[in-house]
Amino acid sequence: MVVITAALAGVFSYQYMSAPQSIILNGAGASFPFPLIDKWISEYHKIKPNVQVNYQSIGSGGGIKQHTEKTVQFAASDAPLTEKQAANATNTLHIPITIGGVVPTYNVPGLPKGLRFSGEVLADIFLGKINKWNDPRLVALNPDFSLPSQEIIVVHRSDGSGTTFIWTSYLCQVSQDWKTTIGKGTSVNWPTGLGGKGNEGVAGLISQNPYSIGYVEFIYAKKNNLTWGRVRNAAGEFIEPSLESFATAASFASVILPKGDESWSKVSIVDSVVNNEQARGAYPITSFSYFLVYKELSVLPNMDEASAKALVEFLWWTVHDGQKYSAELIYVPLPESVVRHNEETIRMITFNGRQLWQG
């Protein structure tokens, strides 16, 4: 099968015809890291012209499904596998590849960037309990702003997304009420508000509706110059979302990461910094994106040793050299400690029991 696809690809590209053995690696999953993965693929192809990596950005859910059914060689997900998902895809390794943050964004005429929020206030806004911009609790957080007496219009994602997963994970941590009535997930039963499809749908609704508030990925907010707020962390600081404050948050989480082949279902940057008073400078609504690969690659039907080796080399490259493309695409480069952690994980990968990384 690999040979056939490789041969087919060769017809379309001169490079393949000249390469001694061309290898095709297929991946699928989360859309959040797609621009970065896409960049990796094109850069890696320049270094290794005989390796063609394909990645379909079909969403974390689809990626996990294809990983479980072993129809792709690697998958990407914004959330680690749950216990149940891991049981269906035993011996899956988690490799954090990048870090992203979710920011509250709002449209209140006359109000600049930098409104201050606390977790409890955000949860109550999204629960519909705080429904006016001049609610005493918002005013108490923002004595310097003059907040209008207007109804708050809540905007959320209508499509299932990792962004919603991160946002609702955070709200679960800061509000008991949210945790027991709404919960966390890629989609939830929203108690109030309008749904927009994708970051652009949310941003569109917010820009069209004065006095609205929603949440989007930081990358999207930054690229489109949206108005975002600051969020209070456990240390009591109001943190501006930025690549630095996300990296700081990730560094606090990375000290307690499980081994690559252990259960990652409890791993969450949100959970590890939200109540951590030591986590100074950490922006709490932050998350890893992961590559998911099998520890023993021979379990995949379309895998031979050469492809397995190529996959491991690609993975190694992405967590090392690949990280330098993060900043230009507004992704957070992995902290050194996470890179070391990933090295150990990648060393675990085998083909018919033989370790593949020779480094």
Partner: protein, 331 residues
């Protein structure tokens, strides 16, 4: 007549051989009949497979929720993992009804103008433009909805509508721009090309003898047109069914403007709502556990059945009106 002569020319003139040669096209005929028959039954096969895989995929959800899936008003993938589709069904039916209410009269008007009133050249140009509209992808309609239609309705139309009709609960409440009415309007715009094109054809297909007969009896243009409408009723009903089919199944454009709010009933026509097609498009890729994706597939199954029910009902109406029209013509 030419072909047998040719065969005769090439054969050696003996009778049995001639007959044998003559038989060949008949065998081909039979084969062709079989092949086309196979193509036609492929439709049945595809439909059957589709129904089967939808039913198979939704089995976990059917087993878990049974009939209550159709009447449930809660959609909670996170905590209770309970799924009910009633609001989605109502949302789809309501927005499609609004689309027909707005779109059909306009489309019939367009069809009549093109077939009965306009000079041939102008009619040709307008027909071409109408068909061009039908070729626009729905995501483009959706984007246009977000960036042009919604701001326009929100700033210029809805406040006025509310100031006049605000005493009716349907037109009260906050105006977001997107919502049920906006969804219906965008669907109306999307079905106009198909409905007007098909009804134009239906009007054009009415034999000229009927028009001539009406005029010779001293009927005015309007009276003639009324008769044309009533003769073309079957075709127009077909056009409306096609439009309804498009409205019910429309996904991309509607999800971009309706607000995607899962609630039993919206507070007004300006409030956000949800539809069956929209929730599938929104949530399927990230439906991370079996029951969840199964519930979404069951929504697909319900959509399939609703479409089927609409088509059958419309077809029955069509037959009835067809008989009625024939009655008139024969009189």
């Amino acid at each position: 007549m030419k072909k047998p002569q040719m065969l005769l020319f090439f054969s050696n003139g003996l009778k049995p051989k001639f007959l044998k040669a003559f038989k060949r096209p008949i065998t081909g005929d039979y084969a062709f009949k079989l092949i086309t028959g196979a193509f036609a039954s492929a439709i049945l096969l595809i439909l059957g497979l589709m129904a089967y895989s939808l039913a198979e995929g939704s089995r976990p959800s059917i087993q878990r929720f049974g009939i209550s899936f159709l009447f449930g008003t809660k959609w909670d993938p996170a905590i209770s993992q309970v799924f009910g589709a009633l609001p989605l069904i109502l949302g789809t039916l309501t927005t499609s009804a609004i689309a027909l209410l707005i779109g059909v009269p306009i489309s019939i008007g367009i069809g009549l103008a093109l077939s009965e009133y306009m000079p041939r050249e102008l009619s040709f140009v307008i027909s071409f433009l109408v068909e061009l509209l039908a070729a626009i992808p729905s995501v483009i309609y959706g984007l246009w909805g977000i960036f042009t239609l919604i701001p326009f309705l929100r700033n210029n139309v809805y406040p006025y509508v509310q100031s006049v009709l605000g005493f009716i609960p349907l037109f009260s409440g906050p105006i977001y721009g997107g919502g049920v009415l906006t969804g219906g309007i965008i669907l109306a715009i999307m079905i106009i090309p198909i409905v007007s094109a098909v009804s134009r054809d239906a009007f054009s297909a009415v034999p000229n003898t009927i028009r001539e007969a009406m005029i010779s009896l001293g009927a005015t243009k309007w009276e003639t047109v009324k008769t044309v409408i009533s003769c073309a009723r079957a075709g127009v009903t077909g056009a409306v069914i096609l439009g309804l089919g498009r409205a019910v199944g429309e996904t991309m454009a509607i999800t971009m403007v309706i607000g995607n709010k899962f609630q039993f009933l919206p507070s007004s026509l300006f409030d956000a709502w949800h539809t069956m097609a929209a929730i599938i498009a929104n949530e399927f890729t990230e439906a991370t556990y079996e029951l969840y994706s199964s519930a979404l597939i069951e929504v697909g199954l319900v959509l399939f059945l609703v479409t089927l029910a609409i088509n059958i009902t419309a077809r029955l109406l069509l037959w009835r009106s067809l008989r009625f029209v024939r009655g008139i013509v024969m009189m």
